[in-house]
């Protein structure tokens, strides 16, 4: 089985290639068969591989497909490395990916560019798999950029709208900024280790660098740069809300479940470096904390259903970063997995709603869908519960609670982080249920035109089930102490050390978290369902208006970047469109022309002038002779 590892990314690639080459000529029926089928087979292979992995107890599988290139000691291969961490990611990518492909088969059925869609999606799955399976950083970088490309293609999928093009470009460029930082990390790593093989680096790093060494911090920070770009964390978070221009399955797969968590993968994959660089790790934690708050508050003010989800994604990844930052590696990965389930579910549900309402994105034009679309409603509700971390019954509760707790009690945890996370949780439950109440309750505002069929409902249901039961594989310490997931990851990621003093009162914090989540739901209920006039009252105050505007704009980051980076660059570029340096040469040409007109004036055509020239020459010669 482990010899077939390469097939897992290769199958989606094959699917993509087939669709690119023959997409236009294939019958429409075959397109989703190829598209979803290839991912489906990959998913099956993944599960088989996972079973084998668990049963034979191997630490890892490695396979080199071919030597990519080899120059002066830099010899990355097209080679894969599969261990416990990788398997989690592969599983999510292929399995959730497969579900989303199925969903898309129906969702995109009307679209003219059916095959292009599946080609891009398949290519994305391939790139994402390469990213997580790569055994060296160059190959990881290939996947890293590959997913960026696919993200670009899919955000701009409906290319006729120029805004989509802008959004796609923005996403690509901003993530590229992060990638550049990551490239520096690669350069530094190669400079110090002479290799870019991840395992070699991980084993060599502790021998070369002491804890807190400056280079290690630098490398780690640069890696964080890459991670924040891909994972839409502060300060590079601005692209993700715009990325919602893509079709909903894309948002579900790329901008919720998989690609945006690549940063989480990268950091947990390179955890050794972060353990060597506590400063960098702290930075990660604080980035996470700050992001989850900022994004949470922004989500609170959005009208666009998908934008709410987008900001919520940013916020949730913030939690993962926070977890990574405090060294709660497995908690982060766990939250990633659970988040993938429920966020994909939410996006798919939102997609179903949006499609049902003539591609209407504005929540305030929705409403009352509870009865019209029961399957969507219930699954959406389950997802929302998970997102809002409704205690005990939702998977999100278990994963998020773990982060809240470890943020305080972990060896690098702190009260600030905890409070931020708690506040974030509160806001999360408010905006989540604000969304649910506005969309599904109240009165119907737009006519439903298209009810989701089987292929759309089935993934919703599957994901909803996962969003519920997924949480039970990892329960809190004082709560049966069932840590299947952490144990599973233990060979790869170390278990966090917990402040023993606090662990006795863990239950207090669990109750606090539960109360906060429920309180948030209640407030949402109060404001958006029971007494909508309260919203009016709040919005009437000048301060609230300003805050609303500020949060609505995503804390003004877009405007800031626009003013600081984009506009000056564009201005400079436009200003210099005709290339100022060219003026030097034009000037030289003009000088010679001017000289020409000057000299030409001496050619008067008159004999006397010519003779004067001879005289001047004679005078010059005699004078020179005299002077020398």
């Amino acid at each position: 089985m482990e010899n077939l590892i390469w097939l897992i990314p290769a199958l989606p690639l094959l699917g993509a290639t087939l669709l690119i080459l023959f997409g236009l000529r294939l019958p429409r029926v075959l397109v989703p068969v190829i598209g979803a089928g290839s991912v489906g087979i990959s998913a099956v292979l993944t599960i088989l591989l996972g079973i084998q992995f668990l049963s034979d107890g191997a630490a890892m599988y490695e396979q080199q497909v071919w030597q990519w290139f080899s120059v002066a000691g830099l010899s990355p291969g097209i080679s894969f490395h599969v261990d416990a961490l990788t398997l989690v990611f592969i599983f999510v990518i292929t399995f959730v990916g497969f579900l989303i492909h199925l969903y898309s088969a129906e969702f995109m059925a009307e679209d003219a560019d059916y095959s292009r869609f599946f080609a891009s999606m398949n290519l994305f799955v391939c790139a994402m798999l390469v990213l997580v399976m790569a055994d060296n950083l160059v190959l990881l970088y290939l996947g890293w950029e590959g997913v960026g490309l696919c993200s670009f293609l899919l955000i701009g999928f409906w290319y006729r709208e120029l805004a989509n093009g802008y959004a796609a470009r923005k996403a690509f460029i901003i993530t590229r900024v992060g990638d550049t930082a990551m490239a520096f990390a690669l350069f530094l790593l190669f400079q110090h280790f002479g290799t870019l093989n991840i395992q070699e680096i991980l084993t060599q790093a502790p021998q070369t660098w002491s804890v807190g060494s400056q280079t290690a911090v630098l490398v780690a920070l640069l890696l964080v740069g890459g991670a924040v770009g891909k994972s839409a964390q502060l300060p590079l978070q601005t692209w993700l809300p715009d990325a919602m221009a893509g079709p909903s399955p894309v948002s579900a797969l790329i901008h919720a479940a998989t690609m945006v968590t690549a940063g989480v993968y990268l950091i947990s994959r390179m955890y050794v470096l972060f353990e060597l660089a506590p400063t960098a790790q702290m930075v990660v934690a604080f980035i996470g904390a700050a992001t989850l708050l900022i994004a949470g508050f922004t989500a609170l003010t959005q009208n666009d259903l998908k934008r709410v989800l987008a900001y919520s994604t940013i916020s949730q990844i913030g939690y993962m970063f926070l977890a990574l930052g405090v060294g709660a590696w497995s908690a982060a990965v766990f939250h990633f997995m659970i988040h993938a389930f429920f966020k994909a579910l939410l996006f798919l549900g939102a997609g179903a709603v949006i499609m049902a309402l003539h591609h209407e994105h504005d929540m305030f034009k929705m409403g009352g869908l509870r009865h019209k679309m029961p399957v969507v409603f219930w699954t959406f509700l389950i997802g929302s519960a998970s997102l809002a971390a409704v205690p005990l019954i939702s998977a999100g509760f278990y994963s998020k609670d773990q982060i809240l707790w470890l943020g305080l009690a972990g060896e690098r945890g702190s009260v600030i982080l905890y409070i931020a996370a708690l506040l974030g949780a509160f806001v999360t439950s408010i905006y989540t249920f604000r969304m649910v109440f506005i969309t599904f309750f109240g009165e119907e505002k737009t006519h439903i035109s298209h009810m989701p069929g089987f292929w759309m409902k089935m993934p919703l249901v599957v994901l909803a089930i996962l969003s519920v039961i997924g949480g039970f594989i990892e329960l809190p310490h004082n709560f049966a102490h069932f840590t299947l997931f952490t144990n599973y990851l233990e060979p790869v990621l170390p278990v966090i050390v917990i402040d023993e003093g606090l662990s006795t009162i863990e239950w207090i914090f669990q109750i606090v978290a539960a109360v906060v989540a429920l309180a948030g739901i209640y407030i949402a209920y109060l404001f958006y369902l029971k007494k909508p006039e309260l919203v009016q009252n709040v919005e009437n105050s000048r301060f609230a208006m300003a805050m609303h505007r500020f949060w609505y704009s995503g804390w003004g980051f877009d405007a800031l970047y626009d003013a600081v980076f984009v506009q000056p660059y564009v201005y400079l570029s436009k200003l210099n469109r005709n290339d100022a340096i060219d003026l030097i040469y034009t000037g030289f040409a003009n000088l010679t022309q001017w000289l020409n007109s000057l000299f030409a004036r001496t050619q008067t055509g008159m004999l006397r002038t010519y003779m004067l020239g001879v005289l001047v020459g004679a005078l010059l010669i005699v004078t020179i002779s005299l002077l020398l």
């Binding site: 293609l153 006729r160 120029l162 900024v177 400079q191 570029s573």
Partner: protein, 527 residues
């Protein structure tokens, strides 16, 4: 002898094409296509017959030819081929063949003369890549300009005369400075040894004072930096590239620029090791400025070909950055960059040509939404745009990555800025895609998708680029011996900042491979 044949085939083919142009328009096309393909076959045969491993038995030089030309001055008709030349030749003939195909439906006036010029440009370029005599090098260096001048000046776009003038004068001016350097080198060598010769191998290792070395190097640099081009000597390029006919742009961007890079590798590095090292930070700085400045300008262009031209400025910045990093990684990157940039930019120009064919404008403000009716073109454009921004999996990534990782060893901060250039590359590259293929079609023209002939042109480039991106090892192996040789003078460069790299493949590499060559005149050595 086979080397001479390559040049002769092109020249003879050119004359034949000119003459046959009187018979009909189709004949010159076929003649030139066949001539180039014949050469491509020769080059491919040379490549395949050579053992693919880096450690070839007889050193870096695969084939040599020495003939007398002007014995009074020690000028020989000396040609030699090593891995680097071979790769460049392959690129030359591949792009040459594509240029002919591109012109198939584009050039209708004076077809014979057009192909004459095309083949002679290629002949000049071939000569430049092969010659091992500095006089001959200058000779070919100039030979390739005239036909290029005609290509731009006769078959170019509306502002062609101006562009042709500018191109010609820039390259000539810099070339003359190189000629002065060559002559000085010649006489210095003669004064030192009493042997008057322009032979490259003999001139290697000529000793001179640091100041003299610096000036001589500047002479060479002038020619190469203008050709490359490096900011601020680039201003001929956007005009020439945008005004040339498609085939001309392809050859300009794909090949002519590479002669500058080739010159840096072949001549500047081995001839002036001390001066080069002293100048290296400045050269790298120029490279970085080029990368950023080119990107800045590319972003605001509305003329598609001009935009692509400025991207060349930006991309060529990597070349000089890598060359002056003096390590194998960077130089491999440079070689890759030469090849992949040739392909990707060439392809972008060809695509611009296709668009011009369809809508008769190069203004991207007047384009938009072409994906709807021309999806194949869109996909192919996408691939080359991605190549241009250095997406992994395509050859350009390997090139830029190697260059940067190599230059990082030499200079951290400059590399940082160079890498920022990649972000800017993203901005301008995606702008092409967005302006041309996204949005709605605002022209009156219906954009047809690529025809069979056009696909025939594009598919090999796509395949080549993917191949280079996913399995560049054959190219790396071919270039390695010659890169090692160019770097020989730098083996003592203190590399304390880099860790000792294990180089399993270079162990068997004979370091004094040159001494096995038979050349006229006295002993020479590369110590």
């Amino acid at each position: 002898m086979i080397l001479l044949w390559m040049i002769v085939i092109l020249m003879a083919g050119g004359i034949l094409a000119w003459l046959s142009g009187r018979v009909n328009d189709l004949l010159p096309r076929w003649i030139s296509l066949l001539a180039i393909l014949a050469n491509l076959a020769i080059a491919a045969w040379l490549w395949l017959s050579e053992p693919a491993t880096a450690a070839t038995k007889q050193g870096a030089w695969l084939v040599q030819l020495n003939m007398e030309w002007v014995p009074q001055w020690g000028i020989g008709f000396d040609l030699a081929l090593d891995g680097l030349s071979l790769l460049m030749l392959l690129l030359t003939f591949l792009l040459g063949a594509l240029a002919v195909l591109v012109s198939w439906n584009e050039i209708y006036t004076k077809v014979g003369f057009f192909h004459f010029n095309l083949l002679w440009v290629l002949a000049g370029i071939t000569g430049v890549f092969l010659t091992m005599d500095l006089f001959l090098f200058y000779f070919f260096w100039e030979v390739m300009l005239i036909p290029m001048y005609f290509l731009i000046g006769i078959w170019g776009h509306e502002n062609r005369i101006y562009a042709a003038f500018k191109f010609f004068i820039f390259t000539q001016a810099s070339g003359l400075l190189m000629l002065l350097s060559i002559l000085s080198l010649y006489f210095i060598h003669a004064n030192n040894t009493g042997i008057y010769t322009f032979n490259y191998f003999e001139l290697l290792g000529t000793s001179f004072s640091p100041a003299v070395g610096m000036w001589l190097m500047f002479g060479f640099l002038a020619a190469f930096l203008v050709k490359l081009p490096v900011v601020p000597f680039h201003s001929w390029l956007p005009d020439a590239h945008s005004q040339a006919p498609t085939a001309g742009s392809v050859i300009l961007a794909g090949l002519l620029l590479k002669t500058g890079a080739y010159g840096l590798l072949r001549f500047v590095l081995p001839l002036f090791p001390d001066a080069a090292q002293e100048f290296a930070p400045w050269a790298m700085l120029l490279g970085v400025i080029g990368i950023l400045y080119g990107a800045l300008l590319a972003y605001s262009q509305t003329d598609l070909k001009r935009l692509v031209a400025y991207t060349s400025v930006s991309h060529m910045g990597f070349v000089i950055l890598g060359v002056f990093a003096f390590n194998e990684l960077a130089l491999q990157g440079v070689v890759m960059q030469m090849i992949t940039h040739g392909l990707s930019t060439g392809a972008l120009f060809i695509l611009a040509g296709f668009l011009y064919d369809r809508i008769h404008t190069r203004n991207i403000e007047k384009m938009g939404g072409f994906w709807a009716t021309a999806p194949k073109m869109g996909v192919i454009a996408l691939i080359f745009v991605m190549a241009s921004l250095g997406l992994p999996g395509l050859g350009n990534f390997i090139a830029e990555f190697l260059t940067l990782i190599g230059s990082w060893q030499a200079h951290n901060w400059l590399t940082v800025f160079a890498t920022i250039g990649i972000v800017l590359a993203t901005a301008y590259s995606l702008r092409i895609l967005k302006k041309v293929y996204y949005g709605h079609n605002i022209t009156d023209h219906i954009i047809h998708d690529l025809t069979g002939r056009e696909m025939l042109i594009m598919v090999p480039m796509v395949v080549a680029l993917l191949w280079l991106g996913l399995y560049p090892q054959p190219v790396v192996d071919t270039a390695k011996p010659s890169i090692d040789e160019q770097l020989q003078a730098y083996t003592n460069v203190p590399e304390d900042r880099t860790i000792s790299m294990e180089q399993p493949q270079s162990i068997n590499q004979p370091t004094d491979s040159l001494s096995q060559l038979k050349t006229k005149g006295g002993a020479y050595g590369l110590k």
